[in-house]
């Protein structure tokens, strides 16, 4: 069951809104509807948010993203369409049931923090629980826990006015976390913070998300933020969603020129990661392989080095052509005695900016490994620059460039070398 499901949502302000919805459904233009005194803010939006994902709604100011968010928790009444949260149809609830739903299933983080200046940080964090009627001792304990999660437990007795912007928003986050709802709505939560703090908060959110597994609907106007945080992104323009997809899908296949324009502003070095540029993991050369055989294969593929495995899917090191040649000359029975260069490992989530330095050295290919150190793929050197420059990625099956000295092609394939 999806965490949030919205179907055919419309929000029209002004006069004769129902008529405006009908006209929009019949294909009337926004300008046309506007002329008749109605202002459409959200037009025919449908979306599904799966449990545990960060769903980012991105758009410029006036694109209707905040209006959309407020319809998801009923702060704004929909003009048409339905919203389901969990198994409840939010749009069909009366006021009392709606309040209950908000108390128990959703909390919100605001752009300007919306902390209550007359309450202490702790009482702010405990607010949702207080509304729900949790007794004082319990709610204070839970609020204190939530403050500890965001690193502000020392500030519990202060007033929000005494905190910096970043700290205030962490209180805002703690207030939402203390409510212990599965769904978190974040309305431009980090937009009012300066860039450094914003990045810090994004990291903290991702960290919290990894451990708490909330469902988050995150509104932003910043595509970099969307790409960094979002499992999926919906891009809004003039009240409509123009594209929904994973960051990769959007990057690789922008739905229209509008999205493409946006992407032009993306800091590719920070948005693209090793995962985007790596190519299929080659089979590791077993340490027991015969040097002569290896050398032969390397020459056949015109590569300068091979990755030597440890027999357990991890990279033990890199053998250069010279090293293998030496092993052949000395008559070594296997690669075991060959002096290996240490591998240059990166993670799949390493950004391109952080890939530049590893990719710049020229003897060892950059290997992408998972948390256990197992090989996922390698990064062809040219690919980093190509991705930064916006050159479309070659199809995964593309043949390696023959002259590539240490790139992906440097590695032997399964058929040619077996341990």
């Amino acid at each position: 069951m999806p965490a949030v499901h919205a179907e055919g949502l419309f929000k029209v302000f002004g006069r004769r809104t129902a008529e405006a919805v009908d006209r929009l459904r019949d294909g009337a233009s926004v300008a046309d509807v506007r002329e008749r005194g109605a202002t459409p803010a959200v037009i025919d939006v449908s979306l599904t948010v799966e449990p545990g994902e960060i769903f980012v709604v991105m758009g410029l100011s006036g694109s209707g993203k905040s209006t959309l968010l407020r319809m998801l928790n009923g702060l704004l009444e929909v003009t048409a369409g339905t919203v389901r949260v969990g198994d409840a149809e939010l749009t069909a609830l009366d006021d009392k049931a709606l309040r209950r739903l908000r108390q128990e299933q959703m909390s919100m983080v605001f752009q300007h923090f919306a902390l209550f200046p007359h309450r202490s940080v702790l009482d702010n964090a405990a607010y949702a629980l207080e509304v729900r009627g949790v007794d004082r001792a319990t709610r204070r304990a839970k609020a204190q826990e939530a403050l500890a999660l965001v690193g502000l437990d020392q500030w519990a007795d202060q007033k929000p006015g005494q905190l910096s912007g970043g700290m205030k928003q962490r209180v805002g986050l703690a207030r939402a976390l203390a409510a212990d709802t599965d769904l978190l709505l974040m309305d431009e939560a980090f937009s009012a913070l300066d860039p450094l703090i914003r990045r810090e908060m994004q990291d903290q959110l991702l960290e919290l998300q990894a451990s708490l597994g909330k469902t988050i609907v995150f509104i932003t106007h910043d595509l970099n933020e969307a790409m960094r945080l979002g499992d999926r992104i919906a891009i809004m323009r003039d009240g409509r969603i123009v594209q929904i997809g994973t960051p990769d899908q959007i990057l690789e296949d922008p739905a229209d020129d509008y999205v493409r324009q946006f992407l032009a502003d993306v800091d590719r070095g920070r948005v693209f990661t090793a995962r985007h540029v790596m190519v299929e993991a080659p089979t590791l050369v077993a340490p027991t392989a015969a040097p002569a055989h290896v050398l032969q294969t390397m020459q056949a593929h015109r590569t300068g080095s091979v990755l030597v495995g440890d027999g357990d899917g991890r990279v033990a090191g890199v053998a250069t052509e010279d090293a293998v040649r030496t092993a052949v000359a000395t008559g070594a029975p296997s690669l075991a005695g060959v002096a290996l260069l240490p591998p240059v490992d990166v993670r799949a989530t390493t950004t391109l900016s952080d890939l530049l330095a590893p990719a710049a050295q020229d003897e060892v290919p950059v290997t992408v490994v998972d948390d256990d150190g197992r090989l996922l793929g390698v990064v062809p050197r040219g690919a980093v620059l190509a991705a930064l420059g916006g050159v479309p990625r070659p199809a995964p099956s593309a043949a390696p460039a023959p002259a590539d000295p240490v790139g992906a092609s440097a590695v032997a394939t399964k058929e040619t070398i077996r341990g």
Partner: protein, 332 residues
Amino acid sequence: MADTVFRAAEDGALPQIPVGDWIDSGFDWVTENFSPVFDVISAGTETGVEGLRDALLFPPSILLAVVLAVLGGVVRSVRFAVVSLLGLLLLISMRMWEPAMATLALVLVSAVIAVAIGIPIGVSAAKSDRVSAVLRPVLDFMQTMPAFVYLVPAVTFFGIGLVPGVVTTIIFAMPPAIRLTELGIRQVDPELVEAGHAFGSPPGKILRGIQLPLALPTIMAGVNQVIMLALSMAVIAGLIGAAGLGGVVVTSISRLDVGLGFEGGLSVVILAIYLDRLTSAFGQQRGRLGGIPSFLSRGGTVGKAGLGASSRSADAVTPVGTDQNSPNRPAR
């Protein structure tokens, strides 16, 4: 040409509208049909005001003056306590204590009633644009109608004496309570109210827990204004037989007694300054009693710190209040 038109108008080309006659007959009708109601109101008000006056006059005047001064000291500052003690002692020495206490009783009762009626009206005006739109001209009427004009109908309903004084004072003094309550609540950051809704808080709890506490400084400014207007009206009410400093001033006018008039006027000023400083201290949270919001905000631990700290204005991790009496010092 134009001249003849104007002349025609003066001569009755426009019909005369007997607004005054209508009002007269309207008041007659109300008086005839509702006199029992007025009698009850009369009796209640009279008991209230006279009871309070007697209570104020019960302790020795010097003792009460000291108590009032100490109250000022607690709420505001020692300097204020000293100055108000001097002022109140001067009242006693001028032999104006008794009328001053009668006026104080009248002012307090009227102000309490005006505030008790005005704040709920202000709240509903803040919640509804329609109520607000209807109220605005009514409030304008109440405030700009010359104060003396209220006296006549009040006398018609309640006769000469204390009660019409209280009634006119309430009507005259109520508008600031309504206006500033509405203003205060409307000024509360909408995002904070939205936050209340987003966490599923019912409207009553949002009002009590968020809007009223945050509007409190503004509302208290309104209460302060109510008291000041009540005081000015209480003096005018002397014209229709309300006892107190108003009576003293009216007597001095009829006798052309400059000295007595000045004493009465000076007493009003002393009372006014005392009440103004006292109530404005509540509103600005400058004094040592900073915890008024906690009365309203259930479950809040407002403790020592007041309302002055606005969430957005101060990003730095520093105390917001710079006043040396500020309660906003961080309680580290």
